[in-house]
Symmetry: C2
Subunit: 302 residues, 2 copies
């Protein structure tokens, strides 16, 4: 599981700071999460292959989280993409995009699907044999979801010397990986646990931005490996958090602690702060380890 | 009259090339012409004060000419702009912008006016005591206008030693500047031409992008000081120009020659070309002088 931060600052794009966008690589999927203005250029800068992105998740319809989407969709068209693209987003975004296509008389030459969200409950919005994606209902000024990405339990690993020693035909290897006992060439039933080791623990990532402090998300994100939680403010500006429906670094850390996550990543910093280390120090009074998102930063969780 | 090129490449924004946007400073006005994705960052990079932009002119509704507008409008709001903003654009853009404001529940705190265009004739769309702006109907795949910016005739310049020698009261100086003969302190009628010199010749700038070769624009842009004309292609790809409704460098030069402009600036290059000097060389076989637009380039025509 790998995470590339394309942008992690709040509000407006500037010369050296980008609005929210990140790419999660999990079990060979490449998921784009949020898409602020300039995201397509940051994708190029980080050498991420456009064609590998098949699903885009948009948290909410504030501009710093989606103004780059229409341009990305349009660029995919100009690059003669053929792969289908799925947008998971709050209700209303399809109308915005389609209206602009209509005015430009430019329709995609690849299949484009919108999956619009309006539930206030956590729901499963994507699933295949390897990965699940769930919404995390957040508390912001407009309808907002975070997203929980979970690997499914993988297959058991064959212990090859033991498998050979047990005289098992290759035709049964997949059964063993799936956790079944099998007959060997001599007709003896072999306990799969004796010739395989347990699957690697499935990884999980929770993206929570933008949101006020919201304790009710804790059960949804319980025990995740990595939590990205917004920290627009430091505690010295805590009075601004409730009315703008954002969080402080300390609040993000409280959520991380209650949810028993393994790693907390902070981001969505207000551009009023010069020293981002203050976010880390503040959060570390509650929870460790804390990592700081930075534009262009790459995290490898394998 | 000064021109700053924020972006001059066609199609998609990339690491080192920006889509169309430019700022024209003329008679103390700062006009933004087109607004591709990333324009707000380029405005910051070129240290252009946001508050000085009161009029934005959008040529057409292809993304590389307006996808940066919604973000710019939104950033103005976040910066608590109070100055009014006027958008001159093809019909339909207001709906796109307003829909996004509605979804974000974020309305501007400054007065925002849309002046939507749908005429196929050249029309006067802005005028004050110093400047006029006219549309230049172009020939592209969607409804498109270029824009002609013209200084009005200025005031005559006082020849101060002559004025003093003629014994004229200061109360009459403005009348002289406006070209009236006045009485001096001795009651003698003074010919204004004897104590003033003619006004500086008014400057003019024509922006023509995107368009196929269209000779009927020649009378509209006749004798302008500076013509920016798109040249998406070189002649070696001339076969692509009619179907995409773009021009070659040679065609841009033909328009410049027929219109008897003083300077031609080329831009809106296809990103297939590595050496932009080929555009200049090709155009110079027809017309001189030719300048090449480049992102971040500043032209001073005073």
């Amino acid at each position: 599981m790998k995470l590339t931060i394309l942008g992690c600052f709040s509000a407006t794009p500037r010369k050296d700071t980008n609005p929210t966008a990140q790419v999660l690589e999990i079990n060979n999927h490449l998921f784009l999460i949020d898409c602020g203005e300039g995201t397509q250029v940051e994708l190029r800068r980080n050498k991420i292959k456009f064609a590998r992105i098949k699903h885009i998740f948009i948290s909410h319809l504030h501009g710093d989280h989606f103004f780059g989407l229409v341009g990305l969709i349009s660029t995919f068209r100009l690059l003669t993409r053929e792969t289908e693209l799925h947008i998971h987003c709050p209700q209303g975004l399809k109308e915005v995009i389609v209206l602009q296509m209509k005015l430009a008389d430019s329709w995609t030459n690849y299949p484009l699907f919108f999956h619009e969200l309006n539930s206030d409950d956590s729901e499963l919005i994507f699933e295949d044999d390897k990965v699940e994606v769930w919404t995390i209902p957040l508390d912001h000024r407009v309808y907002t979801n975070g997203f929980l990405f979970k690997e499914k339990e993988g297959e058991r690993h064959l212990n090859m010397p033991a498998v050979i020693e047990a005289n098992i035909d290759i035709a049964y290897y997949n059964k063993l990986k799936q956790g079944h006992d099998v007959l060997n060439r001599d007709g003896v039933l072999i306990d799969h646990q004796k010739v395989t080791s347990p699957p690697s623990p499935p990884k999980s990532y929770a993206f929570c931005s933008d949101t006020a402090y919201k304790e009710s998300i804790v059960p949804i994100i319980k025990d995740v490996d990595v939590l990205y939680h917004e920290s627009t403010f430091l505690e010295k500006h805590a009075h601004l958090a409730p009315k703008t429906k954002h969080s402080t670094a300390k609040e993000a850390a409280l959520i991380a602690k209650k949810a028993n996550v393994k790693i907390l990543i902070l981001g969505h910093y207000s551009t009023r702060y010069d020293d981002l280390n203050e976010f880390k120090h503040e959060a570390e009074t509650i929870f460790k380890p804390v990592k700081l998102a930075r534009d262009g930063k790459h995290f490898d969780f394998d």
